[in-house]
């Protein structure tokens, strides 16, 4: 393709018109990379009728010239007219430009071929029959990685006739005129610090799927900053970044919006935007994570749907390895191995399992969406912010552990069996067993939010319901995939080990991850309630284990123990009652394990940012395993602690163990609805979002970046 256009260019150069041949760049012909030519839309001048002419610029491959606002560097092309008396040339009608990135900077301009249009007024008393020559000097800056000023004396001689026909270039004019932005759209704009939000509606009959915004005024909009689009009902909001410092005279936002690739593309359009700009809350585009707090697009709603689905799929796959899911699924696999000789078509099992998993995820999503729409500020970990849920999950895992150890057996049809019948379900040979295992796997997985799922979930929550549901479905597909594979290709299954006594031992062993999960849940509970509450929960466990023991005895024939089991169950329920009604402790009354951390509050954070302090905010929760891991691996590392001290970093902890509306909102500002989230504010108050999995190196590198400037300043 490059070769072709180079050939075309060479040909064009050979047959160049006399006007083009007059182009004389200042540094000699060898450095000429743009050809200029003056052409007209019609084949003649008509007295008294406006004449449309254009400066046709042909750029050598990779070279560009500039739009009326050139961006971070460059120079707009100029046409200096030398016209006969009575003729008058208007300003250039600029076709919309392209964004041309240069390293970290951005230019606005043209590549390939472009036609800068001008309307020339023709005197009415012009005598017909005498040809007229229009002269102009064109000046431009042509750039690739280097820039060269270019200029050309161009001229165009046309006959003067009573009537004119379209010229051979009429098609080119039509295409260029289509690219000149249309009249201004109705829009309103708000600015908060440097963040600008423009609400607008596309022209009638058009949509807005992607866009580029080109400022019509110099120094108002940061040319290279990312631009974001958010749909708000029938309206759209675009987010831009103002150039610093923001002038007090910046009262109107003027620019050009080029949508869907611009005219010439399906559904493309380009319009002028002229919006009064008022100071006001801009809010966060859901994708407002990444550099500068206001730019970048990591993990928010600007994440493409495909990426979100892919992430969700991967997240689902990895869920299989989580300690609270693995045992259940291992048992399912063992069940498959045992029944492989006499259980009918394997694929049916796999599909039933997958349907169970996917349906449960979709139901969970529907529940989340329902709750969210009911106005609750909810995140993925929300169920762990309520003490009774934590206690109930402890009991569930404890019960599953006892079951795995063989204290009692589940029998189908006991009402709550689908919640706890891990073993039985796994061994059931019909499709209902497989479906049930799928459902169970999802329920058991819910507390094990894999760290990397935050982004996909954050994305889902900010999207229309259909998309959110598909993301959750993808999560389910990912989780079910290995099992479906195994059932579709039973030959793989044959490679699984033969059943035997080891399986019973393995099953019993799997009780210990369950008990470990109980320890973690109880520790979470200890962050939420006082010692009495934890003691109560432990009491419930004793009662439950007693009831289940009795149940086990009755299952082995000692029928009388059925009543003992029932009594134990009642006792457990009675013990549980106070927990169910207990409120979580107020935030701030919890013991903080680390010294030197202050509690998060938006006001305090704003104050510190205003003072130019470097602030590290740790959005965490006791029930978030990744958070604890990060604390241990990175935040409590001696090297990191030392650097926090020497760099005078203010450490702020936003503890989301219990529900806290203000923290939920802060997370939403970064496009998240889960923890962990680590934000480092530099001394200018700009936010840098760190990855969700921290290492000493990541934290130190982030501090290094800030400190380079800070230390330099300090040495002054």
């Amino acid at each position: 393709m490059q070769l072709l256009s180079a050939l075309a260019f060479a040909l064009a150069a050979i047959v160049a018109t006399p006007a083009a041949a007059q182009s004389l760049p200042r540094f000699g012909a060898a450095e000429k990379h743009v050809d200029a030519e003056l052409i007209a839309a019609t084949d003649a001048i008509v007295p008294g009728q406006p004449l449309t002419v254009g400066l046709r610029l042909k750029h050598e491959n990779e070279w560009h010239t500039y739009w009326q606002v050139p961006g971070d560097s460059g120079l707009p092309t100029q046409i200096k007219w030398q016209l006969p008396a009575g003729f008058n040339a208007g300003a250039i009608d600029w076709p919309h430009p392209k964004r041309l990135p240069v390293g970290p900077l951005m230019n606005f301009g043209y590549e390939g071929e472009t036609l800068l249009l001008t309307t020339v007024q023709v005197p009415a008393d012009l005598p017909v029959g005498t040809p007229v020559t229009l002269n102009a000097k064109a000046l431009w800056l042509e750039c690739k990685d280097v820039c060269i000023p270019g200029e050309a004396q161009v001229k165009l001689t046309l006959p003067v006739k009573a009537q004119a026909a379209p010229s051979s270039s009429a098609g080119l004019f039509k295409a260029s005129q289509a690219r000149v932005p249309q009249a201004a759209l109705n829009a309103t704009a708000y600015i908060d610090a440097t963040r600008i939000r423009v609400a607008l509606s596309p022209p009638v009959g058009k949509t807005l799927d992607k866009f580029e915004f080109f400022p019509l005024e110099e120094g108002r909009i940061e040319p290279a900053a990312p631009q974001e689009l958010k749909r708000e009902g029938a309206q759209f909001a675009i987010y831009l970044t103002a150039a610093k410092p923001v002038g007090t005279d910046f009262k109107t936002l003027k620019g050009v919006i080029v949508a869907n690739g611009g005219p010439g593309y399906a559904n493309g359009w380009a319009n002028v935007v002229q919006a009064p700009l008022t100071a006001g809350a801009v809010g966060a585009a859901a994708g407002a994570t990444g550099a500068g707090g206001a730019s970048g697009s990591a993990g928010g709603s600007s994440m493409s749907l495909l990426a979100a689905l892919g992430t969700a799929l991967l997240g689902g796959l990895i869920l299989n390895l989580m300690p609270c899911v693995f045992p259940v699924l291992s048992l399912k696999l063992i069940g498959l191995a045992q029944h492989r000789t006499h259980s009918g078509p394997m694929a049916a099992h796999g599909i039933a399992f997958a349907v169970g998993v996917v349906l449960s995820f979709v139901l969970l999503a529907a529940l989340l969406i329902g709750l969210q729409q009911a106005g609750s500020a909810l995140g993925w970990g929300f169920q762990l912010q309520t003490p009774w849920v934590v206690a109930a999950l402890t009991v569930l895992f404890f019960g599953i552990g006892l079951n795995l150890l063989g204290v009692f057996e589940f029998t189908m049809g006991s009402g709550v069996a689908n919640l706890k019948a891990a073993d039985t379900l796994a061994q059931k040979s019909d499709w209902r067993g497989s479906f049930g295992t799928g459902v169970l796997a999802v329920i058991v997985a819910s507390p094990c939010t894999a760290p990397f799922m935050g982004a996909a979930l954050g994305y889902a929550i900010t999207q229309p319901a259909v998309i959110a549901l598909s993301v959750f479905a993808a999560l389910g597909v990912g989780m079910a995939a290995p099992y479906v594979l195994l059932t579709l290709f039973p030959s793989l299954l044959a490679k699984l080990p033969r059943p035997g006594r080891w399986m019973e031992l393995f099953k019993q062993f799997m009780a210990f991850p369950m008990f470990a999960t109980c320890v973690w849940l109880l520790w979470v509970l200890a962050q939420q309630v006082d010692a009495g509450g934890v003691a109560l929960a432990l009491g419930v466990l004793v009662a439950v284990s007693f009831a289940l023991w009795a149940l086990g005895l009755s299952q082995r024939g000692a029928r009388v123990f059925r009543w003992v089991a029932a009594a134990g169950g009642v006792l457990a329920a009675l013990t549980f009652a106070p927990i169910a009604t207990s409120e979580a402790l107020a935030p701030g009354t919890r013991a903080t394990a680390d010294t030197g951390w202050i509690d998060y509050s938006p006001e305090k954070l704003a104050q510190l940012r205003g003072e130019g302090k470097v602030v590290f905010v740790d959005f965490t929760a006791a029930w978030c395993v990744t958070c604890q891991l990060n604390k241990r691996v990175a935040l409590r590392a001696d090297s990191v602690k030392k650097r926090f001290t020497t760099d005078n970093v203010v450490l702020m902890r936003a503890d989301w163990t219990n529900r806290d509306e203000r923290i939920t909102q802060a997370l939403a500002q970064f496009g998240r609805n889960g923890v962990p989230l680590y934000v480092l504010y530099d001394r200018k108050g700009e936010a840098v979002v760190l990855p969700e999995l921290l290492t000493e190196g990541i934290v130190l590198a982030a501090l290094d970046k800030l400190t380079i400037n800070k230390l330099k300043e300090a040495s002054r």
Partner: protein, 205 residues
């Protein structure tokens, strides 16, 4: 657990922070820097504490820079303010891989040939100094007062062109800022949109 961490790290590598040039604005402290001049001497902004400092981003290959050197404009500013005890630092942030890059000796020869008189010409091929100031173009100009506060950032003058003839009729923002600041007045035009060629920064950070 290791496996989970790797996978997660892979997923999140793509969400790592992207670099945006952050610049101090007039009224804010100028970031200190350390760089080597064309003679190999270490120069730091802190060396000029107590003096006005002018920073001029330079690239001899840029037509906008050529405009101000071919017209003699830049040299006369350098000489005028050098005599007034203002430290004039010309900084070249062109990366070594750019065709515009000049090694120190060649750059020194260019400055000598143009009879230029900055206090120092600094090599910043890594672009650290340029990025610290948010310099975008050549010539991007900065004026720092004796307290180390940035008092002007932006274009050299109000005539965005590559034509040396335009210098005569242009209002020079750097001279105006120094005149205001030295007479104890707030700088009336403390900020403008710099014009020029894009600085050819190194792509690695």
């Amino acid at each position: 657990m290791m496996l989970i961490r790797w996978c997660a790290a892979g997923v999140f590598a793509s969400s790592m922070v992207s670099e945006v040039i952050a610049a101090p604005t007039p009224g804010q402290p100028a970031p200190n820097f350390r760089a080597t001049d064309i003679a190999g001497k270490a120069v730091s902004l802190a060396d000029f504490k107590g003096k006005y400092v002018v920073l001029e981003w330079n690239n001899p290959g840029c037509p906008f820079v050529q405009k101000h050197y071919d017209s003699g404009n830049m040299q006369s500013l350098q000489k005028r303010y050098g005599a007034e005890n203002v430290a004039w630092l010309s900084i070249n942030s062109t990366t070594e891989s750019s065709s515009d890059y000049m090694p120190p000796a060649k750059l020194a020869a260019w400055f000598k040939q143009h009879n230029a008189a900055p206090a120092a010409v600094l090599m910043d091929a890594k672009g650290d100094v340029g990025r610290a100031f948010g310099a975008k173009v050549t010539p991007h100009m900065y004026v720092i007062d004796p307290n180390g506060t940035l008092v002007y950032a932006g274009a050299i003058d109000d005539k965005r062109s590559t034509n040396p003839a335009d210098v005569k009729s242009a209002t020079n923002y750097v001279a105006a800022a120094l005149t205001d600041a030295k007479s104890g007045k707030p700088v009336s035009k403390a900020n403008s949109s710099a014009y020029g060629c894009t600085i050819k920064y190194s792509s690695s950070l």
